[in-house]
């Protein structure tokens, strides 16, 4: 039986991989392995009578060991690399070991770890360094907790070795070619492309198995030299390399289930890959592996590794073309960074140039230095800051302002309170003595597996969550900025410029959800130009909010043990925020789903994708250090044929030239999405870009599906 993978594009997906590999992908994408995992949710700690009396590290280490010893092994008949995250609780971000039926610890996510040192040098070398560190610790004044942490690293490596040994035994007679790989990696250094992919996958799979969802970062940079050495030595062909890489991708979607309960979508395990861009010395990284990665996603429509390409005007022409060719198949799998702008932004934040050049992200698009950053973000809704804190529309006595500038000043002040609050609350919780200049982090739940793959943790004997990494970042994330901007624009226009309605009357109209004011509402909807139409006046309000937000974050940028660089996102929160929002003065009612990320409010942009990009680029996005995402939706007909590819390339070039930060482009047809709602079984592999992640459309619940359908789609 031949298998095919969905595309909205008239041009079919290419077929380059073997039939067995394509079938393997089809099985994985249809939930075969995810269902297996859900049949084994976790290992149980109930048979260990002393468990409850152990310290948190004691419990953690026992759990990791139990998982390594007891997790089901999986060998798929056609896989080219082995190891599998086979316990269901890990799919829910928990360490899959229970006590009395209850999970004990969360895993870690929103980070890109450094597996690359382990792949290049081998885990034996990591362990040797750890042993040295522990010997050295004897002469230091480490706290008990630091000693426990180093012990936990040792124990975690031992557990990984147990899991590795089980796979060695399982493959010995059944899969000798996999067995050969495992005799070398991950404990020894990878010597070939195949070993490197196996080593990377094995470290990643163990990290996932233990409930963590790391991003992987720049795997083309890691794998390219292995590929080129093998190719010139005649050990490998391009087709073989593609098959091996395909296994890595197919196994990356082993958590897909056949019947995912509807929600915000599956496939959001933050396992982002970054390809292209410059290395620490400023040389272009793009290499044949970059293109092999694109080959695989183009053919198999695998969206579980969201890919972001670091572009500049110096990127190879071929890279623009290949990215366009993959993008037109939809799924939003491949997004783009404006590399020079991101680098400028990171250096302005205070990162040294060579480290900045390493940048990857946390799994969506929030930029970080991989393997060196503890990262999280703190989202808030700028529209509610305007509606509730500033205008008091949720009370019987809304605020009154006599002119626009006093209104804006009040809003800006409230925005400042939100930022200050995020910074103070974080520091109070994480660094209790920060106001007295102390820098020690408060104890946090153990997270040794990711700490093993983070620079700085071993040296400092501090875990990822206790300040062990060189950088600790909490990014305040502004959401709903375009909605707040459009609201301010509407108030300024209707009340202060056109004087169509008084300030107090407009507040009353908003409190009563436009009841009895249909003519005015229609007037606003048809005559008010909103953000996203490349109208300098209309865009100005949103731009001002974003730039002021960056100003308000700057006092907190780097002076404390935690950095607070700004960013822009909603990640779909426009859905959960909707009930807390009121009617908006630009004509939408309470409950309507408004803008996502830095994108225009659905239905307010009429000038096409280029106008949207121009509006978005008017803010100084360089100052949104952890990122500002723009979602572009295109209809399949727009990107058809040679000219469609030229158009997609043109959008990327314009985005770079105008100063964009991060752009995710999806190709979708609303009619097809409607059909998928009606017949979900026929559209199991149809992926869409949700926000920083992709998901099978049918695994989204109705609200999320509607949000995707209503999003701005730019035809012609």
């Amino acid at each position: 039986m031949s298998v095919s993978f969905y595309t909205p594009c008239a041009t079919p997906r290419p077929v380059r991989l073997s039939q067995e590999t394509r079938q393997f992908a089809w099985d994985s994408l249809h939930g075969k392995y995810g269902d297996e995992a859900m049949a084994h949710m976790a290992v149980s700690m109930d048979s260990q009578p002393d468990f409850d009396g152990l310290s948190d590290y004691g419990k953690h280490d026992r759990m990791i060991r139990e998982i390594a010893e007891k997790a089901p092994l999986r060998l798929c008949p056609t896989e080219r690399v082995c190891g599998a995250a086979t316990l269901g609780l890990a799919i829910h971000a928990l360490i899959p070991a229970t006590r009395g039926g209850q999970p004990v610890l969360w895993g870690i996510n929103h980070l890109t770890v450094n597996f690359f040192t382990a792949v290049r040098e081998g885990l034996d070398a990591v362990e040797a360094r750890l042993d040295g560190r522990m010997r050295q610790a004897a002469g230091e004044n480490l706290t008990g907790r630091q000693q426990e942490f180093l012990q936990s690293m040792k124990s975690t490596l031992a557990s990984l070795r147990i899991w590795h040994r089980r796979y060695l035994e399982a493959t010995e007679t059944e899969r000798p070619e996999l067995h050969r790989l495992l005799t070398q990696v991950p404990f020894g250094p990878a010597r070939t492309f195949h070993e490197a992919v196996q080593s990377l996958w094995f470290c990643f799979a163990f990290t996932r198995l233990t409930g963590n969802w790391p991003g992987l970062g720049r795997i083309d940079q890691l794998l390219g030299p292995y590929y080129e050495a093998d190719l010139s030595a005649g050990r490998l062909t391009r087709d073989e390399a593609r098959e091996i890489l395909a296994s890595f991708f197919i196994k990356g979607c082993e958590w897909i289930q056949s019947q995912t309960p509807p929600g915000s979508g599956d496939a959001q395990h933050y396992q982002n890959l970054i390809i292209g861009g410059v290395d620490r010395e400023g040389r272009e990284v793009t290499n044949p592996v970059t293109y092999l990665i694109l080959d695989v996603v183009e053919e198999l429509a695998i969206s579980d590794y969201p890919i972001t390409v670091r572009f500049s005007e110096h990127s190879p022409e071929e890279l623009f073309r290949r990215v366009a060719e993959v993008q037109r198949h939809g799924g939003g799998i491949v997004a783009v960074y404006n590399e020079p702008l991101v680098l400028r932004s990171l250096m302005a934040q205070g990162y040294p140039e060579d480290e900045a050049r390493d940048f990857a992200n946390d799994g969506c698009w929030e930029v970080q230095i991989p393997g060196r950053t503890r990262f999280s973000y703190a989202p808030f809704d700028a529209l509610q800051v305007l509606q509730r804190q500033t205008l008091h529309l949720d009370t019987d006595t809304p605020a009154h302002f006599d002119d626009f500038e006093s209104l804006y000043a009040a809003f800006r002040k409230e925005l400042g309170h939100v930022v200050d609050d995020i910074a103070r609350r974080t520091l109070d919780g994480w660094v209790p003595g920060w106001q007295e200049g102390k820098t020690d982090f408060a104890p946090a739940p153990p997270c040794t597996v990711v700490s093993l793959f983070e620079d700085g943790c071993m040296e400092s004997a501090l875990s990822y969550c206790e300040g062990g990494t060189p950088y600790v970042v909490i990014s305040p994330h502004i959401g709903g900025a375009p909605d707040a901007g459009n609201s301010l624009c509407a108030i300024d226009t209707l009340v202060f410029r056109e004087k169509k309605v008084s300030f107090d009357r407009l507040m009353e109209i908003l409190r009563t959800d436009w009841a009895g004011e249909e003519t005015l509402r229609q007037y606003v909807r048809h005559n008010l130009t909103c953000y996203g139409n490349d109208d300098d006046t209309a865009d100005g309000y949103t731009v001002r909010i974003l730039n002021d937000f960056a100003d308000l974050c700057s006092p907190w940028a780097t002076g404390y043990p935690v950095w607070f660089p700004p960013g822009v996102s909603t990640f779909g929160r426009q859905i959960e925020w909707a009930p807390g929002r009121l009617a908006v003065p630009f004509g939408y009612r309470k409950g309507d789903i408004l803008s996502g990320n830095a994108s225009p409010t659905p239905g307010t942009d009429t000038e096409g994708a280029t106008a949207v990009i121009r509006s978005y680029c008017k803010a100084d996005l360089c100052r949104q250090t952890t990122g500002a995402a723009l979602d572009i939706r295109l209809f399949p007909g727009t990107v058809d044929g040679e000219n469609g590819l030229v158009a997609l390339e043109g959008l990327i070039h314009g985005f770079l030239a105008l100063g964009g930060y991060f752009m995710q482009t999806d190709v979708m047809d609303a009619q097809v999405l409607r059909r998928a709602q009606e017949n979900p079984d026929e559209y199991k592999t149809l992926s869409v870009r949700v926000s920083g992640w992709n998901a099978r459309f049918v695994t989204l619940n109705r609200e999320w599906q509607e949000m995707i359908i209503q999003r701005t789609a730019h035809e012609m």
């Binding site: 490349d534 096409g608 106008a611 727009t638 158009a647 043109g650």
Partner: protein, 305 residues
């Protein structure tokens, strides 16, 4: 020097990917000498703007009736004595008074006046996206009908913007000759090669169209693409395809033919400018007919783009 000559522009559409190579901004101009039965843009026929009336967007506020100087829009009692908003197109002078007060855009003028300078500035906005291939496309209506199109093309050339023209060729030869020297690409409509049928369905004279085409071919330093609409049961016949091939062979700068299948979606637009609905699903060519057209043309050595 400011160029203050004006043109009547029905629409400026950015991010066009079907009107010539690359990303383009398409400028639609008011006015067309042809009356194609299948026309998609009937609001552009008259030289002057017309009123486009979209009842579905009307909220019945009556602002238009108060503003109308001729009584074309008025409130009239129906037999039950209820006020009904009526629109009498015969009395309408398309002065735009109603459009200026309509809160919803239900009343709109089909075109607005823009200076050459304004248009160039509007097109400039997307320069970052045009790259080597994209640029501006002048369309309509018949874009070469308004005389100010020539200074517009000159200004666009001066700004370094690539100019494509979507023309049906039914313009005076002097205009065609001048435009041919200013455009980089001509998307030249060849709606039919049967003279009687062409006259019946569009009002155009085939010799005039073909003379201008060959004039364009001689003068331009750019390229020509023939655009051939396929309307089922009207011109989906092999004789026409061979006719197209004959025309193609006589041209020196023609890259090939774009086949444009008829779509039925024009219907409601005609009604909105007071004309009978011309949307006909039986005119939509089948996939096989399209394939046959392509095959016949290619067999005659014509590249189908």
């Amino acid at each position: 020097m400011q160029n203050t000559q004006t043109l009547r522009v029905t629409r400026i559409q950015r991010f066009s990917t079907g009107d010539g190579p690359g990303i383009r901004t398409t400028v639609f101009l008011q006015g067309c000498p042809l009356r194609c039965a299948w026309c998609h843009n009937p609001e552009t026929w008259d030289e002057e703007p017309v009123l486009v009336w979209t009842p579905r967007d009307c909220v019945g506020c009556g602002a238009c009736a108060s503003a109308c100087p001729t009584g074309a829009r008025r409130v009239q009692d129906d037999p039950d004595g209820d006020g009904q908003l009526v629109y009498d197109r015969h009395l309408c002078t398309a002065c735009g008074a109603c459009a200026a007060v309509c809160p919803t855009g239900a009343c709109e003028l089909s075109a607005r006046s823009m200076t050459v300078e304004d248009i160039v500035r509007a097109v400039e906005r997307d320069r970052a996206f045009f790259g080597r291939e994209g640029g501006v496309t002048l369309s309509g209506g018949e874009p070469l009908l308004q005389s100010a199109v020539l200074p517009l093309m000159q200004a666009l050339n001066r700004a370094g913007l690539s100019v494509a023209v979507e023309t049906a060729g039914a313009v005076p030869p002097e205009r065609m000759a001048a435009a041919a020297g200013l455009g980089e690409l001509f998307l030249y409509d060849l709606k039919d090669t049967d003279p009687a049928r062409l006259r019946r369905m569009t009002g155009a004279e085939l010799p005039h169209i073909l003379d201008n085409l060959s004039l364009c071919d001689r003068v331009t330093r750019g390229h020509i693409r023939l655009r051939c609409i396929l309307v089922r049961t009207v011109n989906t016949d092999p004789t026409h395809y061979r006719g197209i091939a004959g025309v193609y062979r006589r041209l020196g700068r023609c890259e090939g033919v774009e086949l444009i299948p008829y779509h039925a979606y024009a219907g409601s637009k005609a009604v909105r400018v007071g004309r009978p609905d011309n949307g006909r699903t039986d005119w939509i060519p089948t996939g096989e007919e399209l394939a046959q057209a392509k095959e016949t043309l290619e067999a005659c050595g014509v590249p189908v783009l």
